[in-house]
């Protein structure tokens, strides 16, 4: 026990500052936000709950999402947490090109989420199918199965990129996080 305690004290706080918000931020690419939408996003954005669904990814994106929980990136410190039930979630984070075997599970998860809800398609696969494309076994991107609010490119995208994309989506009106 003393070993553990001393290691805790020696390590100190490891969390790094947040990645900068990008210049152009909007929920749906191109369309401006209405004041009510902005208000709602502000409320949502301060205490976001994310449900992740692997719709056929190779596991690379999952590893980078799991890295968001490490003390350096510390996504919980920003007020964002991952939840087990879609009923608790505000944001659906989907990885993979949507394999046909996962299509129904993905859709049901999306429908189980209460409004207002957002969807981010993560990785090149989620965005457009990438290496797996559109085939008998793959739908070729998350937008072919459920409506998507934002895509994050990368194979896999790094944790700061994922964090920046999530923050851009949920805090468009804020100047600082």
């Amino acid at each position: 026990m003393w070993n553990t305690l001393s290691r805790m004290l020696r390590t100190g706080l490891l969390t790094e500052p947040l990645p900068k918000l990008s210049e152009a931020r909007s929920v749906v690419e191109g369309l401006p936000l209405e004041p009510m939408q902005q208000n709602l996003l502000n409320i949502l954005g301060r205490a976001l709950c994310i449900r992740h669904v692997d719709a056929g990814s190779c596991n690379g994106c999952e590893l980078e999402i799991q890295a968001l929980g490490n003390p350096y990136y510390n996504i919980e410190g920003v007020g964002i947490k991952f939840v087990a039930s879609p009923r608790h979630a505000d944001l659906l984070l989907v990885t993979g090109p949507v394999s046909v075997n996962m299509e129904e599970a993905l859709r049901r998860t999306y429908e189980a989420m209460p409004e207002p809800k957002l969807v981010i398609a993560l990785g090149d696969c989620g965005a457009c199918g990438a290496a797996f494309g559109s085939s008998y076994a793959s739908r070729g991107g998350v937008s072919n199965a459920i409506p998507v609010d934002k895509t994050v490119a990368g194979c896999p995208p790094s944790p700061p990129e994922i964090l920046r994309a999530i923050l851009d989506l949920i805090r468009p009106a804020a100047d600082e996080v």
């Binding site: 205490a47 510390n74 410190g77 920003v78 007020g79 087990a84 009923r87 505000d90 209460p114």
Partner: protein, 317 residues
């Protein structure tokens, strides 16, 4: 029942409702520091509640009226419990109607409704969480009763306010029997409030969930009330612990003017800060017990409480 008494009672209830999430936020803050990370601001639980109240509730098609009522019932019983527990004052209107045994009955009511609601939808996880929670609950209750009996022996009454009154009359005195009872109480607190080592509140493993499994189907305002009720439950347990073992600072009968109340609130906050830090430390250093060790754990806490009783009887006789 004068106006000041009503004000006192109401202010205690309002205080409990208001700062219970803050207590949860403080424990999260301590836990984060022990995990070498920064925590979200202390008001994060309030932001979460505010967000949840803004969401549309998504209910399963198989949900019955019991399912929809349960969050309100849970919240109500916890608020009622907060009204009975002397957190800042002992001259409480409601406390005359219900003693500590009734308090345990309130917790039991909450547990029963929560388990029923969990089984309502018919998912496997709900039933799983419900049966595990009932097992923990029915073993924790006798242990808690034994702890309370320790305090009752000292004060001669089963009402918590009288326990506080009697205890504060002795100026800073540590009763060895209460030491055993305190450890037993801590163990029961961890078990009943779904904390490590019995349950992991931050778990993402559906098969190991106890408490969280019962809340999986709730959303929006129902979920907000459930979370608030859980925060209130922990706050209530902490206040019971303070009343039994660290009652100094509570405004007792006869000395409960405005100044005394303010001092009581301050004392309560200090005690909560310390309790939160201790809880977080215990959680950080422990691993979660295998579920079939939980009865052993609760048996130990029961035995410790009985030991406390014996010590008291031996020393006083």
């Amino acid at each position: 029942m004068s106006a000041i008494t009503i004000v006192r009672q109401l202010s205690e209830v309002v205080l409990a409702i208001a700062i219970a999430p803050l207590f949860g936020g403080w424990i999260a803050q301590c836990r984060a520091w022990l995990q070498s990370r920064t925590a979200p601001p202390l008001i994060q639980p309030y932001r979460m509640l505010r967000k949840l109240f803004h969401k549309d509730a998504a209910l399963a098609t198989t949900a019955s009226p019991l399912f929809r009522m349960t969050p309100y019932i849970l919240f109500g019983t916890m608020v009622l419990a907060a009204a009975i527990i002397p957190s800042i004052a002992t001259d409480l209107t409601f406390a005359r109607a219900a003693d500590a045994i009734a308090l345990i009955g309130l917790f039991a009511t909450a547990r029963v409704f929560q388990s029923l609601a969990a089984m309502d939808i018919g998912t496997a996880f709900g039933s799983m969480g419900a049966r595990r929670d009932m097992m923990i609950g029915f073993l924790a209750e006798p242990a808690l009763l034994m702890v309370l009996f320790n305090a009752f022996l000292l004060s001669g009454s089963t009402a918590l306010p009288s326990v506080v009154d009697v205890r504060t009359m002795h100026s800073f005195f540590v009763d060895p029997s209460l030491l055993f009872a305190a450890i037993a109480f801590l163990m029961v607190l961890l078990a009943e409030n779904a904390r490590i080592p019995i349950d992991n509140p931050a778990t993402h493993l559906e098969l190991t969930m106890i408490h969280e499994a019962m809340a999986l189907e709730y959303s929006a305002r129902h979920l907000a009330l459930l979370e608030w009720a859980a925060n209130l439950k922990l706050f209530n347990y902490a206040c019971i612990g303070f009343a039994l073992f660290l009652p100094w600072g509570i405004a007792t009968q006869g000395r409960d003017g405005g100044v005394a109340l303010a001092v009581a609130v301050g004392a309560l906050l200090v005690k909560l800060v310390l309790a939160g830090a201790v809880l977080a430390l215990i959680e950080a250093l422990s691993a979660k017990l295998r579920i079939f060790r939980a009865p052993e754990y609760l048996a130990i806490s029961f035995l410790l409480a009985v030991l406390g009783l014996l010590v008291h009887l031996l020393l006083e006789a």
